[in-house]
C-alpha cells in the first residue's frame, strides 16, 4: 500500500462569516505530483496554508507524512518546501544572504549549498539585492528557497507565475526531477500544459469544495472540444442533437457546440447548412473538469 503524504479529512475553514474551504477530503501519495486547480478565491491557498499550519481549521483535520499539521507543524515543516502564491521577500537582503539565512533557519537536510546550484540553473544573480530584482527574479528566489533543502514534499502555489517561457521550462524540469526522485509535489496552477506535463492527478476546488479528483490521462481522454460554427442563416434547433455533442448556446449567426465524440458527423451536419467558418477553442482543464463532472454535481474521486 502506498504511503499517504498529504491527507485532509472534512477540512473546513471559515474566517468569521467568510468561507475558506468546506469538507475537503484529499489525499496525495508518495512520489506523486498532484495538481490543485480552481479559480481565484476557490480555497487553494487556504488549503495549502492549513497544511502548513499558517491557518488553523475550523473543523476537520489536515496531515502531512501522517502527522497532524496542527500539532506537529515544526516537525513536518522540516521536510516541506513551500512557495507561496503571494511571495514577499526581505527586500533589503541580497539573494545570497537570504538563502544563507533560510538554509540556517530551515536546516539544510544534507543539502548544504544546494541553493547555489539551483540559482545557477535559474540564472539568478545571488549577489544582487532582492529589491533590485524584477518580478521574475523574485519568483526565482522563491523557487530556490522552496527547492533548496531537497524536501520530501514541495508545495508550490503558481510556481511559474511571472517567469519567462525558458525559465518556466527549467522549473518544470526541476519538478519532474523531484518526482523522479520519489518525492512528492503539490502543485497549484492555472496553466493546463504545465499541469499536463508534470502532474499525475489533479483535483479541482470550487467555492471551497473539492469538486473532484481525477488522473490526468483520464481527463485528457475525456477532453471536450468547444467550437463555434458560423452560418449565413441559423440552422434549426436540435440538428446537433446526437451522442457526444451538446449545443451550448446560439446567437443570430452562430452555434456553440461541445463535442466529445462524433466530430465528423457534427461537421457534416453543419456543412449541409452552408457553414461559413469554424472557431475552435481548447477548454481549460477547469472547464474540462466541470463539464466532465456535470458542472460539479457531486463529483467523484479516483
Amino acid at each position: 500500500m502506498s504511503e499517504k503524504i498529504i491527507e485532509t479529512h472534512d477540512l473546513t475553514v471559515y474566517y468569521g462569516k467568510y468561507r475558506g474551504v468546506k469538507n475537503v477530503n484529499l489525499s496525495v501519495e508518495r512520489g506523486e505530483a498532484f495538481g490543485f486547480l480552481g479559480p481565484n478565491g476557490a480555497g487553494k491557498t487556504t488549503t495549502q496554508r492549513v497544511l502548513l499550519d499558517v491557518i488553523r481549521p475550523t473543523s476537520g483535520r489536515a496531515s502531512i507524512f501522517g502527522m497532524d499539521s496542527r500539532t506537529h507543524g515544526v516537525e513536518l515543516r522540516k521536510r516541506v518546501g513551500y512557495l507561496p502564491g503571494e511571495l514577499a521577500l526581505y527586500k533589503d537582503m541580497r539573494a545570497e544572504e537570504f538563502f544563507r539565512m533560510y538554509e540556517y533557519l530551515r536546516g539544510a537536510n544534507g543539502a548544504n549549498g544546494y541553493w547555489r546550484d539551483l540559482a545557477k540553473r535559474l540564472d539568478l544573480d545571488v549577489s544582487r539585492k532582492i529589491s533590485n530584482f524584477s518580478r521574475g527574479n523574485k519568483q526565482k528566489v522563491g523557487i530556490v528557497a522552496a527547492f533548496m533543502s531537497k524536501p520530501d514534499l514541495l508545495i508550490l502555489d503558481e510556481p511559474t507565475s511571472g517567469l519567462d517561457p525558458l525559465v518556466q521550462q527549467t522549473v518544470m524540469e526541476m519538478v519532474r526531477e523531484v518526482k523522479a526522485d520519489g518525492r512528492t509535489v503539490f502543485f497549484s496552477s492555472h496553466i493546463l500544459p504545465e499541469v499536463q506535463a508534470v502532474c499525475d492527478r489533479v483535483g479541482i476546488i470550487r467555492e471551497g469544495e473539492l469538486v473532484a479528483t481525477q488522473r490526468v490521462e483520464e481527463l485528457i481522454a475525456a477532453r471536450l472540444n468547444r467550437m463555434t460554427l458560423i452560418f449565413p442563416d441559423l440552422p434549426p434547433v436540435g440538428i446537433f442533437d446526437f451522442e457526444g455533442v451538446t449545443e451550448i448556446s446560439r446567437t443570430e449567426k452562430s452555434v456553440v457546440l461541445e463535442v466529445r465524440e462524433n466530430l465528423p458527423k457534427a461537421l457534416a451536419t453543419a456543412a449541409k447548412y452552408d457553414i461559413r467558418d469554424i472557431e475552435t477553442q481548447n477548454m481549460s482543464l477547469e472547464e474540462i473538469f466541470l463539464d466532465f463532472y456535470g458542472k460539479g454535481n457531486g463529483g467523484k474521486h479516483a
Binding site: 468569521g16 462569516k17 496554508r49 499558517v54 491557518i55 521577500l89
Partner: protein, 274 residues
Amino acid sequence: MLRLFWQELKFRRNAILGWSLGLCFFPLVYIGIYPSVASEMAGLADLEIYKALGMSLGTFQDWVGSILIVFMPLVASIYAVINGTGTLAGEEEDGRLEMIVTLPLPRWQIVTAKAVALMISAVIMFLVVATVSVFVFQSIESQIETDMAAMDLFSAVMSAYPLVFAVGMIGMFLAAFAPSRRVAGTIAAVILTVSYFGNNLAGSTPVLEPFEPFFLFTYLEGTGKAVMEGQQAGNLLTLTAIGLVSFALAVFFFQRRNLTVGVWPWQRAKVESK
C-alpha cells in the same frame, strides 16, 4: 532562534541609526541650550500649562527630568509602537511572515526573537542617547549650578527604558491580537497618548485621579528628584511586569493566530449551520 534574532536586529540597523540620531536631538539641543535659558526657565517653573505637559522647569535636574525622562521616552515609545506592531502585523500583511512561519520554527521562537531584537534595538538607542547626554552635560557643567554627576544623568536616561519596553510589548501583543496593523497601531497610539496626557492632567484634574494607575507614565517620574535619586523600584517593576505580561499575551495569541486572514480571535471558529 539566535540566527533569527540576529537577522531581526540586522533588519533594524537603519531604524537604530535613524532613531538614535533623532533622539540625540533632545540632549544636544535641549540640554545644550540650558545655560543660556536657565534664568528664564526658573520663572516658568509654576505654570500650569507646563505641568499639564509633564514639565517641571525650576532647576537643571527638573529640566533634565522633563526632557530626558518624559519627552525623549515618549518619542522613543513611538518607535516601539511602530516596530512592535510592524514586526508581526506589518510583516503578516506584506506577506513576509508567511515565509518565516512556514519554516520549521515554533511560533513562540519567532515572537521571542522579534521581541528581543526590538528591545535590544531600543536599549542601543537609549545607550546612545545616555552617552551623548553625558558628553553634552560635561561640556556645559561649568556653566550651570547643579549637584548632578554625569553618572546620575546616564542612569536617569536608562531608567526610562522600562516604559519603552512596556509600550513595545503592548504593541506586539496588539499585533498578535488585532486583525490588522492599522487597528493594532491605532490602539497602541491611543494607549500611549492617553497615558501621557492622563498622567500629566491627573494632578490638576481630580476626575482623572482614579484612573492614574492605568496610565503608563504614572510609573515614570520626570522630576529632578527622580534624576538625582533614581526611579522608584516599584514603578520600574510595574512597567517591566506590564511588558512581560504583554509579551506573554503576544506569544499566546500569536501561537493561536490564523495568519494572513486578518480577523479577531473570536471570529475564527464560526461554522456555517447545516
